[in-house]
């Protein structure tokens, strides 16, 4: 055990800190759930990529820097510390890319990854369907093989950023006689393909953060398939493991929230002193964010020694999502009667994005596999309890 950074790691941190100090836009960008904000966030992705910083763990040939997970954590720490923009392409870079690296052909990697790294293609996930939420194996969207193509028909829903994204990836039922997790195929396709209709869905905050996608005989060439036909489930589970596991939510995000919450506490001592449970929650937020960071460093160290991501994928998901809700609820308590003010309201000074953060934190226990589903997984796969 050696809990110190190497000279190389320190130098890397400094390089990132300097670059971000010189390049992070001074004011917050408009939300990427608006057309204007989406475009600005895409431009930011491009800028990151000019310094090979949009996907630091990828090989340099594909636009990354070939860094390990510890260096990735350092990068994330600096990134959140600098209040840099949210990553509009995170579904591509953190979720699809690991799958492509493992299961894509060399041609597919060359074709998709560099354009992902420089923000040319922004990706949306298309797993959920009206009848397939937690029960993803109930997917019905059809992919019928026809002359070197799949012809898609059906509907996906809740696809984050699909309103303005360029491409999507998801699972489609290629074998009509199959059921459950058999006969599913993993496909990539442009959202501008003929036959696609995107219907934006407004989220709690009023913005169209996700969308329904309707497929009406959409033709997708076979070379857009990842892995073999009918093998999509296992490939998708690899993505789901990464998403819940490590890359979706780096600890730095929550450490930054915890730090901001301490600041908010100091600025609202009257509210805090009137309700002692607030101080407790502020401390707990800091401790749990720290615990999440420590646990992630431990996982990254284990992976560096050849270990595998296991059940911590599920324990992580529960831990960070509940931590995020706790911290944002506490911020709402500290803000008291001003907490409800929308950011543009004249009296909203000092409310600083907490309201939007609060709303978004509430989605954490739902997306990426609900926390109830995670508890089922922990109980059955980690603790070995009998299936129902």
């Amino acid at each position: 055990m050696r809990l110190e950074y190497t000279e190389r790691q320190k130098a890397f941190r400094q390089e990132i800190r300097d670059w971000l100090a010189a390049n992070v836009p001074s004011g917050a960008l408009p939300s990427f759930d608006t057309e204007e904000g989406f475009a600005q966030h895409r431009a930011w992705e491009r800028k990151l990529s000019t310094a090979s910083l949009s996907a630091v763990t990828w090989p340099s040939a594909l636009g990354g820097r070939g860094l390990d997970l510890i260096e990735w954590l350092i990068f994330e720490e600096e990134y959140w510390r600098a209040n840099a923009p949210l990553r509009v392409n995170q579904n591509g870079i953190f979720l699809l890319a690991p799958t492509l690296m493992d299961h894509g052909t060399p041609e597919q990697k060359k074709r998709f990854l560099p354009r992902m790294a420089d923000g040319s293609d922004i990706w949306a996930q298309a797993w959920s369907e009206p009848g397939a939420g937690s029960d993803m194996a109930a997917i019905r969207c059809k992919a019928t093989r026809d002359n070197g193509h799949y012809v898609l028909s059906g509907q996906k829903i809740w696809s984050t950023r699909a309103v303005w994204a360029d491409w999507c990836f998801g699972l489609f039922r290629s074998d009509p006689s199959s059921s459950r997790h058999h006969g599913l195929t993993f496909l990539l396709l442009p959202l501008k393909s003929p036959g696609i209709t995107i219907r934006p869905i407004r989220q709690l905050n009023g913005l169209p953060g996700f969308a329904e996608i309707f497929f009406d005989d959409v033709r997708v060439p076979v070379e857009n398939r990842i892995g073999e036909e009918g093998e999509g489930w296992n490939i998708a589970m690899a993505t789901a493991g990464f998403e819940r596991g490590l890359m979706l939510r780096s600890p730095a995000r929550f450490q930054q929230t915890a730090r901001r919450l301490v600041d908010l506490y100091h600025r609202n001592r009257a509210a805090a002193d009137a309700d002692p449970s607030i101080r407790d929650a502020v401390l707990k937020g800091w401790m749990d964010a720290e615990a999440y960071a420590l646990a992630t460093y431990a996982t990254a160290s284990r992976l560096a020694r050849g270990g595998q991501i296991g059940a911590e994928a599920s324990t992580n998901k529960i831990f960070w999502s509940e931590l995020d809700v706790l911290m944002h609820e506490t911020a709402m308590s500290l803000l008291g009667a001003r907490a409800e003010l929308m950011p543009a309201a004249p009296e909203a000074a000092g409310v600083e994005g907490w309201l939007d953060g609060f709303l978004f934190s509430l989605a954490g226990p739902i997306y990426a596999g609900t926390n109830e589903i995670q508890r089922n997984i922990i109980a059955e796969r980690m603790l070995g309890l009998p299936r129902a």
Binding site: E76, W80, Q255, M287, Y297, L385
Partner: protein, 350 residues
């Protein structure tokens, strides 16, 4: 940056685990409860054979010369098996205290080899604990007095036994009078020594609490996989599964905090008090939840004397308030987190 234990540390842990599985079965612990001393010389001798009494004793005094990181894995096992012994107080806390006494003090030379060999038992009296554990069986009492360190032989203090809910604990009020002859270290050096004792006790208890939490979780899993109602194991019911999954999450996120606290002690990290108190709070929370949830999934069986769960619950409740209760540790964390100019946020973890 490497947050893993090395192979030797893992092998040592595995050996201890195998040994305790055989030697510290719940039935034999119940037998030890019934004895007057509550301690088994036979068990102590076996712990010594495993090297547990020699971990921190310097090689010059026939010990292994190892440190906090070697202890922390062993402590988890001591908690998992609810070992009824003053091993940790003697071989971890007292050894470290003795090593730090001013040069020329004879206590270290006379006691360290006898601790390493498993013969000596030492008890530590500190105002964070209104009662002292294992004073009755101790050959030596090390006592706090206004930051000074004092040492007494049994017989030089009056001991008033107080019974604990945990049948394996042996607590006493220690009545004594400090004197120039009992003083082995003045307050200036003593302050640092006692701070280290409190922090090491914190790491030891945090690790034991994580071990206890895992044991209570395992007992809950075993019971719910075997007990059938409505024609099925109760562990197949989702409410039961989720009760236990929550405990697993708490344990997963307490463990690395405890390891970091041990590392901070080993390296004399200036922030070690914060790391230790964080570990105590995280481990205490895991153990408390494990006790509640495991009892719940046991049903009435968990409410009996007969079921083994009681041994681990009672130990967890007792340890959580020892060497600083929750308020004590929260105050230390708050002093850092809410203190002026605290370095918080990403990039400040290490």
């Amino acid at each position: 940056m490497d947050f893993t234990f090395d192979d030797q540390q893992i092998e040592f842990r595995d050996a201890i685990r195998k040994f305790l599985m055989v030697e510290a079965a719940p039935e034999s612990l119940r037998e030890i409860w019934e004895t007057r001393s509550g301690r088994s010389n036979d068990l102590r001798a076996k712990l010594a054979d495993q090297g547990l009494t020699a971990i921190s004793v310097p090689e010059a005094h026939t010990g292994m010369g190892l440190g906090d990181l070697d202890w922390v894995l062993a402590q988890q096992e001591l908690g998992y098996y609810a070992i009824p012994d003053s091993l940790s107080d003697t071989a971890y806390l007292a050894v470290d205290l003795l090593k730090q006494l001013p040069a020329g003090n004879a206590l270290a030379a006379s006691f360290l080899p006898r601790i390493a060999s498993g013969q000596a038992r030492i008890a530590i009296a500190h105002p964070l604990n209104p009662l002292t554990a294992d004073a009755e069986n101790a050959e030596l009492l090390l006592l706090w007095h206004d930051d000074e360190v004092h040492a007494l032989r049994p017989g030089q203090a009056k001991l008033v036994p107080n019974q604990s809910l945990d049948m394996s604990r042996r607590l006493s009020r220690v009545d004594w009078t400090p004197s120039a002859t009992s003083r082995v270290c003045g307050a200036d050096a003593g302050r640092g020594i006692w701070a280290d004792v409190v922090n090491r006790a914190g790491v030891a208890l945090a690790a034991q609490l994580v071990g206890l939490a895992s044991r209570m979780l395992d007992l809950g899993i075993d019971h719910s996989a075997n007990r059938k109602q409505f024609g099925k194991p109760v562990g197949s019911f989702q409410a039961v599964k989720h009760h236990l999954a929550d405990v697993a999450v708490k344990i997963e996120f307490a463990r690395p905090v405890v390891y970091r606290a041990a590392y901070a002690m080993q390296k004399s990290d200036p922030q070690r008090a914060v790391h230790v108190s964080h570990a105590r709070l995280a481990a205490g929370e895991a153990a408390r939840l494990a006790a509640r949830r495991s009892l719940q999934v046991h049903g009435a069986m968990g409410y009996t004397w007969e079921a083994d769960l009681q041994m681990f619950m009672k130990r967890a409740w007792a340890l959580e308030a020892s060497w600083g209760d929750r308020g004590f540790h929260k105050t230390r964390v708050a002093a850092h987190v809410l203190g002026e100019g605290a370095a918080l946020g990403p990039s400040q973890t290490f």
